[in-house]
Amino acid sequence: MRTTDDTAIYASLADATFQAYRDSVTHLPADVLVVIRKAAAAETKPVARNEFANILKNIEEAERLHVPLCQDTGIPVTYLTIPPDVPLTRDLYDAVAGGIRRATREIPLRPNVVDPLSRHNTGDNTGKGMPAIHVKPGDSFTVTVFPKGAGAENSSRITMLLPTHQYGIEGFVVDTMLHAEGKPCPPVFLGIGIGSTFDGAAALAKEALLLPVDRMDDYEQEICNSVNKLGIGPMGLGGDTTALAVKVKTAACHTASLPVAVNVQCWAHRHATVEVKRVR
């Protein structure tokens, strides 16, 4: 049976999920805006400059009208941090799903979630195993909503390289973008997961996208430069910037393995984190 405390946590988490979804789809994080504006200012190709002009105007209009930046309001990916005094129960999962149903009705979001085989649309952006909810222990109680559009997600790839083929990582990332062409709405952000296991590398790649994108280390910058040499540019129409940033996250792996995953993200790199209010 649900206690009064549980009910309060359920309501707060559902509310925080709703707020985070609304924030994420209507305006972009500050670090994302910084890199888009920088690339727009540096672009030299006329067609690409027009694409950037539309992107910057779109960001303004979404903010002004309080509407989603993109009609593909994504598939709901969420990350929770749970402090020691909050029990991890089924209720927390239900609360996140509840927040997403409300977001779908009220923001509104496009109902995107379907059964993978029958293609039946549930109409409320939840379904079997969806939303994706990733839980980690933390000091504060937060929910991050990271809605992922299909154009970019469909261009993502994973490979198991030979452990002696570290040099192949950069080539795999560049080749992923070569196959993606203009489909993932470039200029893109690329999250790279290196190590862990087959499934773990994919999870790392997605988490890498949540790292600050307005700074890159030398390795990330080198991969980013190689991707940009392709010249695919905004929307595949050609231009100086194909990747706005590359972010790498690693984990230990088997001595005989080198898993590498690339999670592609469109320029509209939407995510927001909200602290869950605690009533005491």
Partner: protein, 194 residues
């Protein structure tokens, strides 16, 4: 490529044949949204609007209370194999993002153009739109055919009716670049074959 913006209004006529890849245009008048499911349905049940001079918009909008809330383009390449019957029936423009394949490039020759709108710019698009009606609403919000009146939507000609294709030219260059750099990073004498 000229710096001027060409004004177009649906239904489109032969004027689209004079457009060149890279030209900027602003499109006004009625367009019809259609994604994968709508194309399949039209092939089965027929086209529910007059296709002559029509423009098809690859888009699954967010609609609320009979208003377009957000309506950017979807990835056109998914419709690569599904577009021929529309052009056969007189459709003059396909609008979307990311470009289309060689088949569509051929099908557009002497008939119509592919117009690109900036992916993700759904809020901006909605400020140029008025919702006028819907066909096949049973397909759901994303897949139904929405009849939308455009007011000067800014687009670029991605593929013209003469076989010029901005996307294809960009990717040809990208593949060359990739092949050149790949050779540099491959180690000597490696026996591993995928």
């Amino acid at each position: 490529m000229s710096g001027d913006v060409v004004q177009l209004h649906t239904p489109l006529v032969e004027e689209v044949l004079s457009l060149r890849a890279g030209d900027r245009v602003e499109l006004s008048g009625i367009v019809y949204t259609a994604r994968d499911e709508a194309h399949l349905r039209m092939q089965k049940d027929g086209i529910p609007f007059d296709p002559k001079g029509a423009a098809i918009y690859h888009c699954g909008p967010v609609v609320q209370d009979n208003r377009i809330i957000a309506a950017g383009p979807t990835t056109s390449a998914r419709m690569n194999e599904l577009s021929g019957f529309l052009l056969d029936r007189g459709v003059r423009a396909l609008i979307g993002k990311g470009g289309m394949g060689a088949l569509v490039r051929e099908q557009l020759k002497n008939r119509g153009v592919y117009l690109a709108f900036t992916g993700g710019c759904a809020a901006l698009a909605s400020t140029h739109m008025t919702l006028k009606g819907v066909f096949f609403p049973d397909l759901g919000m994303a897949e139904a055919i929405w009849m939308i009146e455009l007011d000067h939507l800014p687009l670029v000609v991605g593929i013209d009716s003469h076989g010029n294709d901005l996307f294809e030219a960009v990717m040809r260059h990208a593949r060359q670049e990739f092949e050149q750099n790949k050779k540099k990073c491959e180690p000597m004498g490696n026996g591993y074959k995928e």
